[in-house]
Point group: C2
Chain length 413, copies 2
């Protein structure tokens, strides 16, 4: 058998059935009528935010990057728990507004903002994280045309990256943000142009499980914000220190030590430069807030033995959970945490009674692999397989139209 | 500069502008009103089929696997050119029927067919390519329930694979089809159960550019069909020899020699076993029929220099063209063929005047890379970049909801 990632905390079992808040998942399957099904847990989302608030300093704002999970009920819930919502397109702006988010709480980052997107966001009062000098000029011109004062921040391409992160988004040549040495001039230009200058967005990477790396990157971001502000001669009202908090997907992954990160942030804050003394700080998280609160449920349609290997064929697949198949942003495929809904035990490390099976999706492609030689307790046709860590970059980050299989059901429970 | 794949044949230029059938692509961009835009060429689709018919023996049927491109006008056009349509889900069945395909011309393969899918397909008269003994029994029971005689073929997991193919779908333990040694017994069971036994589906792999490998696999498939039929004591009405014909995506790729494949097929046919003397044969192609006839057009929204590297930021990205970003079924990312719509020259190998740029999409992720250090003639904001080989596994095989950017426009022209 090949190992799988750790089951995230908070899931339980009732009479041997996977449960959320002591309600067996089979109840929600019946309610949804059909599978595949994404379940997002209200209590796990709230618990994650409560734990994070407890670990982070009081002065730190926490934003939700809704790209991680744009399901409207999730956005509405998260909006009530966080201090801001980050969007990546005008489409997300419309979704956020439909979910009841006040545009003044929204900031907008993304390297390819079209004029119509800038126009919609500026008109609504959204803060734009500018990605280039050209985008700055387009935003300023649109604001003139709209006769409004635009809320503009500068996304900085820092001279460092987040070590050990899944995706590096700073350091070196990048499409994201403005190279740090170009930033002071741009800030002066924005202020001289009459914009409502909002400060910096400094994002060094994502999906890191190393507190040490995050502490180093956040310290560097704070120091960079100070240096750039001093060079510009202008204090930033706000600095978004970025995200990068990872979750444990794979065998051997250990949960991030957020208490260590919070304590170090307090230290950075106490030692901050004078020019930042009135600056508000926030972090921007997506995956960390919602990823572990979601589970993807798929039904076993067939079971077959091919040349000695047992395959469990499900009605789900990479059209809903591309990342779990190992085809999105990962070089070496490894198994996401997974379990059998009907025979689930928390923290059961006893592998006797487990059968080695390969869990595949229903798509007619060998890429559609959900569990490679995993151990499950006698999975049978009609049983359900739960793929954990499905709360972020699942339904909306997968090719839902592929092979005409249709979208999954999504429920906030 | 890093190389890119070869521009597919059939695209031209009019006054330096990329053209299809001597119509500049800018005409279609204006017609579509917005970008990103997939253009599929009627004449290139027809030309590809004509070339293939000329190279293949007259007795060989050619099927279109609509998973490659399920855009309704493409399916309708292809339906008039081919001898059968292959589907992978009940969703594709509904799309095929909406596009005017007679269900009797349809066959249905896929490892996770649900009961409701089997029911819809059997009721419509579709041929089911059975993937397991369990699926066979479900299909037979559903047919009894419907009081119809089901059209059933057996998908064989052959004891060989398609050498050098992008995706192996035969050989070894697989979720696809029935292990070859189990097939004769299953065939006898189907016939004894009163089914309309349709024969075999033998699919060994996909995306091969080697005529030699395809010839070997097709010969092996024909021999296997004969051996299994002799063991069953039942002649197969039809044998689907699978697909696997690749197209040239990457630097150094050379187009498949279809004449060699056709000539070898004729030889296999002449030498076929007696039990296959009245058997009809077909091949099943998706990518090869439509892949090179499509182009993805995206507009340049920003141009920026970061630490000496020039980035061209487009309004497109991996949400429409996941495979071109290197995130779908490829281990090492390489550049798809691409060009600048407004300054395009066919077969121009003169690299003077080209600028080295990195073409990225609009998504806020470093995965969204369309052209890595490619050479383009002074790409400017407002110009359009054409990514070729976009006719197959593009729009429908990409995460169209990702980051709220919305789907691309699709047009058959």
């Amino acid at each position: 058998m090949k190992p799988m990632g750790p089951i995230p905390p908070g899931f339980g079992a009732v009479n041997g059935i996977l449960a959320i808040d002591d309600v067996p998942v089979t109840h929600w399957i019946a309610e949804a009528v059909r599978t595949p099904l994404f379940l997002y847990s209200v209590s796990l989302l709230r618990q994650r935010m409560a734990d994070l608030r407890a670990a982070m300093p009081d002065w730190l704002g926490i934003h939700y990057a809704m790209k991680a999970n744009p399901f409207a009920p999730v956005v509405t819930l998260m909006n009530g728990l966080v201090d801001g919502i980050d969007i990546a397109s005008a489409g997300e702006l419309a979704m956020a507004q439909a979910a009841g988010v006040d545009p003044v709480r929204i900031s907008f980052a993304g390297p390819g903002k079209r004029d119509d997107e800038l126009r919609a966001a500026i008109a609504a009062g959204v803060t734009i994280n500018l990605e280039s000098a050209g985008e700055a000029d387009r935003a300023l011109a649109i604001a003139v045309d709209l006769s409004v004062i635009p809320r503009l921040a500068v996304r900085v391409n820092p001279p460092f990256d987040l070590k050990g992160s899944g995706m590096k988004m700073g350091g070196g040549a990048k499409q994201f943000g403005v190279d740090h040495d170009q930033v002071p001039g741009l800030v002066r230009h924005l202020v001289a142009s009459g914009a409502d200058y909002r400060g910096f967005h400094i994002f060094a990477g994502s999906q890191s499980l190393s507190a040490e790396a995050l502490i180093e990157a956040q310290g560097a971001a704070m120091a960079l914000a100070a240096a750039l502000s001093e060079q510009a001669g202008i204090a930033p009202p706000k600095v978004n220190l970025g995200g990068g908090f990872g979750i444990a997907y794979f065998p051997g992954d250990v949960a991030l030590d957020i208490k260590a990160v919070g304590a170090a942030l307090e230290g950075h804050y106490q030692g901050r430069a004078a020019i930042l003394k009135d600056t508000a700080f926030c972090i921007e998280l997506g995956r960390y807030l919602v990823g572990e609160a979601g589970v993807y449920i798929t039904r076993i349609v067939d079971r077959k033995v091919s040349r000695g290997e047992t395959f469990v064929v499900t009605d789900g697949g990479l059209h809903h959970q591309l990342a779990a198949s190992g085809n999105f942003g990962t070089v070496i495929r490894r198994n996401y945490p997974q379990g059998l809904v009907e025979r689930f035990a928390v923290g059961d490390s006893d592998s006797s009674g487990l059968e080695q099976v390969t869990v595949v999706g229903c798509l007619c492609t060998p890429l559609d692999l959900l569990g490679d030689k995993v151990g499950l307790p006698a999975p049978s046709i009609g049983d359900h397989i739960a793929i954990f860590c499905a709360g972020a970059y699942g339904a909306s980050a997968s090719p839902g139209r592929f092979l005409g299989q249709g979208e999954a059901v999504e429920m906030l429970v």
